[in-house]
Symmetry: C2
Subunit: 203 residues, 2 copies
């Protein structure tokens, strides 16, 4: 059986997104370019870490990662990633509003799960077979899975600036005490890659 992984880029003060997430600013009031420059401008310095983000066999994400909308669905919205998203696998979107699956080019299908994080994980596990399942984000969704003790491998990509925004979506907020083994730490000038495993797990 595969493991459950989670990747997220965070600031030194732990933010994966700032306050006021919206269509023209999907990550809210935060320096999104700086937060993700390690993946885009400086991709050649972190090839393995970038590849690992999209090597799962199924994905789970929060609605706020999939869409800037809230409430009832705008059915014309099909994610931020264009016609061919980088997942190439089933993606389970956590939402309170039902919606039919949305198949995309390249093997990605967005499925909408309205009965909670455990149900989404069950669906993802069934789809993934022996492959891994990735909790794709954002921080709030990862925090829900952390709180439930359901993440086996947490990969934090810590970007060397503090957002200083005093709000937004912060990793570990509301998560009860939890421990990990630290198994890797590597830096480039743009990011520090930290890998944590559930204690006792070896992969």
């Amino acid at each position: 059986m595969g493991i459950v992984t989670a990747d997220i880029s965070v600031t030194l003060d732990g933010y994966g997104a700032g306050p006021n997430q919206r269509s023209e600013a999907p990550f809210g009031d935060i320096d999104e370019d700086r937060l993700h420059s390690w993946m885009f401008e400086h991709a050649t310095e972190s090839p393995a870490e970038i590849a690992a983000i999209t090597e799962a066999a199924a994905y789970i994400m929060g609605r706020n990662m999939f869409s800037p909308g809230r409430g009832e669905w705008d059915l014309t919205w099909k994610g931020w990633w264009g016609e061919e998203p980088p997942y190439h696998a089933p993606v389970y979107v956590l939402t309170n509003h039902e919606r039919e699956p949305v198949p995309m080019k390249g093997g990605t299908t967005f499925n909408f799960i309205t009965d909670g994080i455990v149900s989404a994980l069950d669906h993802a596990r069934a789809a993934a077979g022996s492959g891994n399942i990735a909790i794709a984000g954002g921080a709030t969704t990862i925090n829900q899975y952390l709180s439930a003790g359901l993440i086996d491998e947490l990969r934090l990509h810590v970007v060397p600036f503090a957002a200083g925004v005093g709000g937004g979506s912060r990793i570990f907020d509301g998560v009860p005490p939890i421990e990990f083994d630290v198994v890797a730490a590597r830096h480039t000038p743009y990011v520090t890659h930290l890998t944590y495993l559930r204690p006792g797990l070896s992969v």
Copy 2:
């Protein structure tokens, strides 16, 4: 001229101390043994990082790091470190309550500064000569110096557990946006040592 450094052990969720700091629990409601096991039980795996903490020529610390007391001084209190503290240099304690200097064995003298962080830094710089000045903690004091842009090298020792306490003294809390260069990342099974420099600074 030396630089201004700061070392602090923090949890994955950024806490340097939990809520309810008190005499019998100087770090408050947090697993202090786990937070510092890398320095004590597992000291042989981080010798350089441990040595660096006490290599400055002058130190600054917050009153809450020096003493569990608040308000007027209990003059019998001379710190947590016994007759010969590990600093072997002047230590400037930030406080609102005046007190005469307290000389200890081995070259440590505790001096009490009532007119703010810049004054403390001026005193420390005069004492340090060409040596470095260390902001010894806690997180709240480091945050004051970070907010003022006065820290050149920040060394975070991130212990792989989340405190999940929802309170306490957290690194970067209240600090405005700030950026660093990341210059080192190294892990043992018990801690990840992250070193950040003020952009453009080389040491």
